[in-house]
Protein backbone atom coordinates (compact mmCIF):
# COMPACT_ATOMS: atom_id res chain seq x y z
CA UNK A 1 0.00 0.00 0.00
CA UNK A 2 1.53 3.36 -1.03
CA UNK A 3 2.25 5.92 1.68
CA UNK A 4 2.98 9.67 1.58
CA UNK A 5 1.82 12.14 -1.02
CA UNK A 6 2.26 11.56 -4.70
CA UNK A 7 3.67 14.23 -6.99
CA UNK A 8 0.45 14.49 -8.97
CA UNK A 9 -1.94 13.71 -6.14
CA UNK A 10 -4.64 16.38 -5.78
CA UNK A 11 -5.55 17.77 -2.38
CA UNK A 12 -8.35 15.49 -1.13
CA UNK A 13 -10.40 18.36 0.44
CA UNK A 14 -10.41 20.64 -2.60
CA UNK A 15 -14.14 20.23 -3.15
CA UNK A 16 -15.32 20.64 0.44
CA UNK A 17 -12.88 23.48 1.20
CA UNK A 18 -14.60 25.71 -1.34
CA UNK A 19 -17.94 25.10 0.38
CA UNK A 20 -16.39 25.80 3.80
CA UNK A 21 -14.85 29.06 2.62
CA UNK A 22 -18.06 30.22 0.92
CA UNK A 23 -20.15 29.34 4.01
CA UNK A 24 -17.75 31.13 6.34
CA UNK A 25 -17.77 34.21 4.12
CA UNK A 26 -21.57 34.37 4.00
CA UNK A 27 -21.92 33.84 7.76
CA UNK A 28 -19.22 36.42 8.52
CA UNK A 29 -20.93 39.00 6.34
CA UNK A 30 -24.26 38.16 8.00
CA UNK A 31 -22.70 38.58 11.45
CA UNK A 32 -21.20 41.95 10.49
CA UNK A 33 -24.51 43.11 9.04
CA UNK A 34 -26.41 41.93 12.13
CA UNK A 35 -23.98 43.74 14.41
CA UNK A 36 -24.19 46.92 12.33
CA UNK A 37 -27.99 46.92 12.51
CA UNK A 38 -28.06 46.20 16.24
CA UNK A 39 -25.39 48.87 16.78
CA UNK A 40 -27.59 51.46 15.08
CA UNK A 41 -30.84 50.34 16.70
CA UNK A 42 -29.49 49.70 20.21
CA UNK A 43 -31.34 51.77 22.82
CA UNK A 44 -28.25 52.57 24.95
CA UNK A 45 -30.37 53.82 27.81
CA UNK A 46 -28.54 55.20 30.83
CA UNK A 47 -30.37 53.73 33.82
CA UNK A 48 -27.97 54.87 36.53
CA UNK A 49 -25.41 57.65 36.56
CA UNK A 50 -24.07 58.95 39.85
CA UNK A 51 -20.87 60.61 40.94
CA UNK A 52 -19.55 60.10 44.45
CA UNK A 53 -17.03 62.19 46.31
CA UNK A 54 -14.67 61.08 49.00
CA UNK A 55 -15.79 62.66 52.26
CA UNK A 56 -13.19 61.27 54.61
CA UNK A 57 -10.24 59.36 53.18
CA UNK A 58 -9.12 58.14 56.60
CA UNK A 59 -12.46 56.48 57.22
CA UNK A 60 -13.16 55.80 53.54
CA UNK A 61 -16.49 57.61 53.67
CA UNK A 62 -18.20 58.72 50.50
CA UNK A 63 -21.12 60.98 49.66
CA UNK A 64 -23.05 61.42 46.46
CA UNK A 65 -21.89 64.44 44.48
CA UNK A 66 -24.38 67.26 44.14
CA UNK A 67 -26.40 66.31 47.21
CA UNK A 68 -26.93 68.52 50.24
CA UNK A 69 -24.53 66.41 52.28
CA UNK A 70 -21.87 66.61 49.61
CA UNK A 71 -22.17 70.38 49.52
CA UNK A 72 -21.80 70.59 53.28
CA UNK A 73 -18.87 68.25 53.12
CA UNK A 74 -17.21 70.48 50.58
CA UNK A 75 -17.81 73.55 52.72
CA UNK A 76 -16.52 71.66 55.73
CA UNK A 77 -13.39 70.85 53.81
CA UNK A 78 -12.98 74.49 52.81
CA UNK A 79 -13.39 75.62 56.43
CA UNK A 80 -16.61 76.64 58.17
CA UNK A 81 -15.35 80.09 59.15
CA UNK A 82 -16.87 81.62 62.28
CA UNK A 83 -19.24 78.77 63.11
CA UNK A 84 -19.42 78.05 66.89
CA UNK A 85 -17.48 74.97 67.96
CA UNK A 86 -20.45 73.01 69.36
CA UNK A 87 -22.64 73.66 66.35
CA UNK A 88 -19.78 72.78 64.04
CA UNK A 89 -19.21 69.46 65.80
CA UNK A 90 -22.91 68.62 65.64
CA UNK A 91 -23.05 69.48 61.95
CA UNK A 92 -19.92 67.46 61.34
CA UNK A 93 -21.44 64.47 63.12
CA UNK A 94 -24.58 64.66 61.00
CA UNK A 95 -22.55 64.91 57.84
CA UNK A 96 -20.40 61.97 58.85
CA UNK A 97 -23.53 59.94 59.52
CA UNK A 98 -24.73 60.80 56.03
CA UNK A 99 -21.44 59.76 54.48
CA UNK A 100 -21.00 56.03 54.17
CA UNK A 101 -18.33 53.60 53.20
CA UNK A 102 -20.93 51.37 51.55
CA UNK A 103 -23.34 53.21 49.28
CA UNK A 104 -26.83 52.03 48.43
CA UNK A 105 -28.38 53.73 45.43
CA UNK A 106 -31.93 54.85 44.91
CA UNK A 107 -33.96 52.22 43.00
CA UNK A 108 -33.87 52.43 39.24
CA UNK A 109 -35.73 50.48 36.56
CA UNK A 110 -34.88 48.65 33.37
CA UNK A 111 -37.62 48.21 30.80
CA UNK A 112 -36.60 45.02 29.06
CA UNK A 113 -34.19 42.14 29.29
CA UNK A 114 -30.92 43.24 27.80
CA UNK A 115 -27.26 43.43 28.55
CA UNK A 116 -25.87 46.22 30.68
CA UNK A 117 -22.57 48.06 30.65
CA UNK A 118 -21.21 49.27 33.97
CA UNK A 119 -18.57 51.99 33.77
CA UNK A 120 -16.37 53.60 36.34
CA UNK A 121 -14.42 56.81 35.92
CA UNK A 122 -12.15 58.33 38.49
CA UNK A 123 -9.51 61.05 38.09
CA UNK A 124 -6.95 58.62 39.46
CA UNK A 125 -3.33 59.60 38.98
CA UNK A 126 -0.64 57.26 40.25
CA UNK A 127 -3.18 55.64 42.51
CA UNK A 128 -6.22 53.44 42.20
CA UNK A 129 -9.89 53.56 43.02
CA UNK A 130 -11.81 50.30 43.07
CA UNK A 131 -15.51 49.69 43.50
CA UNK A 132 -17.07 46.40 44.42
CA UNK A 133 -20.65 46.55 43.19
CA UNK A 134 -23.76 44.44 43.67
CA UNK A 135 -26.68 44.88 41.31
CA UNK A 136 -29.64 43.73 43.37
CA UNK A 137 -33.04 42.95 41.87
CA UNK A 138 -35.80 44.28 44.13
CA UNK A 139 -38.33 41.75 42.85
CA UNK A 140 -36.31 38.53 42.93
CA UNK A 141 -33.43 39.42 45.22
CA UNK A 142 -30.96 38.17 42.65
CA UNK A 143 -27.54 39.71 43.08
CA UNK A 144 -25.01 40.30 40.33
CA UNK A 145 -21.63 41.22 41.68
CA UNK A 146 -18.79 42.85 39.80
CA UNK A 147 -15.70 44.89 40.47
CA UNK A 148 -14.40 47.92 38.63
CA UNK A 149 -10.96 49.39 39.00
CA UNK A 150 -9.77 52.80 37.90
CA UNK A 151 -5.99 52.94 38.00
CA UNK A 152 -3.80 55.27 36.07
CA UNK A 153 -0.06 55.41 36.57
CA UNK A 154 2.45 57.51 34.69
CA UNK A 155 5.92 58.89 35.07
CA UNK A 156 9.27 59.42 33.44
CA UNK A 157 11.86 56.67 33.44
CA UNK A 158 15.26 57.25 31.87
CA UNK A 159 13.98 60.29 30.02
CA UNK A 160 11.03 58.41 28.56
CA UNK A 161 7.46 59.06 29.53
CA UNK A 162 5.39 56.02 30.38
CA UNK A 163 1.84 55.40 31.42
CA UNK A 164 -0.29 52.39 32.15
CA UNK A 165 -3.76 51.59 33.36
CA UNK A 166 -6.89 53.55 32.70
CA UNK A 167 -9.05 56.03 34.55
CA UNK A 168 -12.13 54.50 32.93
CA UNK A 169 -13.09 50.84 32.93
CA UNK A 170 -16.17 48.84 31.96
CA UNK A 171 -17.70 45.46 32.65
CA UNK A 172 -20.68 43.91 30.92
CA UNK A 173 -23.58 42.17 32.57
CA UNK A 174 -25.46 39.83 30.26
CA UNK A 175 -29.22 39.36 30.13
CA UNK A 176 -30.25 41.66 32.93
CA UNK A 177 -34.03 41.21 33.21
CA UNK A 178 -36.52 44.05 33.24
CA UNK A 179 -37.42 45.29 36.71
CA UNK A 180 -36.32 47.51 39.52
CA UNK A 181 -32.81 47.36 40.89
CA UNK A 182 -30.64 48.96 43.50
CA UNK A 183 -26.90 49.21 43.34
CA UNK A 184 -24.73 48.58 46.35
CA UNK A 185 -21.27 50.11 46.02
CA UNK A 186 -18.28 49.42 48.20
CA UNK A 187 -15.53 51.79 47.05
CA UNK A 188 -11.90 51.61 48.13
CA UNK A 189 -8.76 53.46 47.26
CA UNK A 190 -5.09 53.82 48.13
CA UNK A 191 -5.20 57.46 47.24
CA UNK A 192 -3.75 59.96 49.69
CA UNK A 193 -4.32 62.53 46.94
CA UNK A 194 -8.06 62.25 47.46
CA UNK A 195 -7.75 63.12 51.13
CA UNK A 196 -9.54 66.35 51.99
CA UNK A 197 -7.16 69.20 52.84
CA UNK A 198 -8.46 69.46 56.42
CA UNK A 199 -8.01 65.75 57.19
Amino acid sequence: MPTGVGACQPWPHAGSARIWWRTAQVLALAAIAFFAVSFVLAPRKVVFDKTYQLYDAGKALYVEAGTRHAGKAERHVAGPGGQPEVARRAASGRREAAAKSVLLSEPFATERTTNMRAQIFSPSSNNWVGVGADLISESTGEVRSFYLLSDRYSGVDGGEKWSEGSQSRSVWLSRVPAGRFVLRLDPESDSPGLRPPSA
Partner: protein
Protein backbone atom coordinates in the same frame (compact mmCIF):
# COMPACT_ATOMS: atom_id res chain seq x y z
CA UNK B 1 -20.62 54.88 38.30
CA UNK B 2 -22.73 54.62 35.20
CA UNK B 3 -25.00 51.79 34.03
CA UNK B 4 -26.20 51.70 30.45
CA UNK B 5 -28.59 49.06 29.18
CA UNK B 6 -28.83 47.78 25.62
CA UNK B 7 -25.29 48.43 24.42
CA UNK B 8 -23.95 46.18 21.64
CA UNK B 9 -20.66 44.59 22.50
CA UNK B 10 -18.05 44.62 19.74
CA UNK B 11 -16.15 41.73 21.33
CA UNK B 12 -19.03 39.36 20.52
CA UNK B 13 -18.65 40.14 16.81
CA UNK B 14 -14.92 39.52 17.02
CA UNK B 15 -15.45 36.15 18.70
CA UNK B 16 -18.08 35.19 16.12
CA UNK B 17 -15.72 35.98 13.26
CA UNK B 18 -12.88 34.09 14.94
CA UNK B 19 -15.08 31.01 15.37
CA UNK B 20 -16.28 31.24 11.78
CA UNK B 21 -12.69 31.34 10.56
CA UNK B 22 -11.58 28.25 12.48
CA UNK B 23 -12.73 25.80 9.79
CA UNK B 24 -11.25 27.66 6.82
CA UNK B 25 -7.98 28.32 8.66
CA UNK B 26 -7.69 24.61 9.50
CA UNK B 27 -8.32 23.72 5.86
CA UNK B 28 -5.76 26.30 4.74
CA UNK B 29 -3.10 24.87 7.04
CA UNK B 30 -4.01 21.38 5.91
CA UNK B 31 -3.53 22.40 2.28
CA UNK B 32 -0.19 24.08 2.98
CA UNK B 33 0.99 20.95 4.78
CA UNK B 34 -0.23 18.75 1.94
CA UNK B 35 1.50 20.87 -0.69
CA UNK B 36 4.71 20.79 1.34
CA UNK B 37 4.65 16.99 1.41
CA UNK B 38 3.69 16.79 -2.26
CA UNK B 39 6.68 18.91 -3.31
CA UNK B 40 9.10 17.45 -0.77
CA UNK B 41 10.69 15.06 -3.27
CA UNK B 42 10.94 17.65 -6.03
CA UNK B 43 13.97 19.69 -7.08
CA UNK B 44 11.71 22.72 -7.04
CA UNK B 45 9.64 24.31 -4.28
CA UNK B 46 5.89 24.68 -4.60
CA UNK B 47 6.50 28.34 -5.55
CA UNK B 48 8.55 27.32 -8.58
CA UNK B 49 12.00 28.24 -7.26
CA UNK B 50 14.82 25.78 -7.55
CA UNK B 51 15.86 24.26 -4.27
CA UNK B 52 19.40 24.90 -3.04
CA UNK B 53 21.48 23.27 -0.33
CA UNK B 54 23.32 20.06 0.34
CA UNK B 55 20.33 17.79 0.27
CA UNK B 56 20.51 17.22 -3.47
CA UNK B 57 20.96 13.73 -4.83
CA UNK B 58 24.02 14.44 -7.01
CA UNK B 59 26.47 14.05 -4.10
CA UNK B 60 29.41 15.83 -5.84
CA UNK B 61 30.53 17.86 -2.84
CA UNK B 62 33.20 15.48 -1.59
Amino acid sequence: MKLTSGVPRFLYLVWTLVLLMLGPVYLGLSRISFEGRRWSQSDFSSGGAEKTGDDGDDGDDS
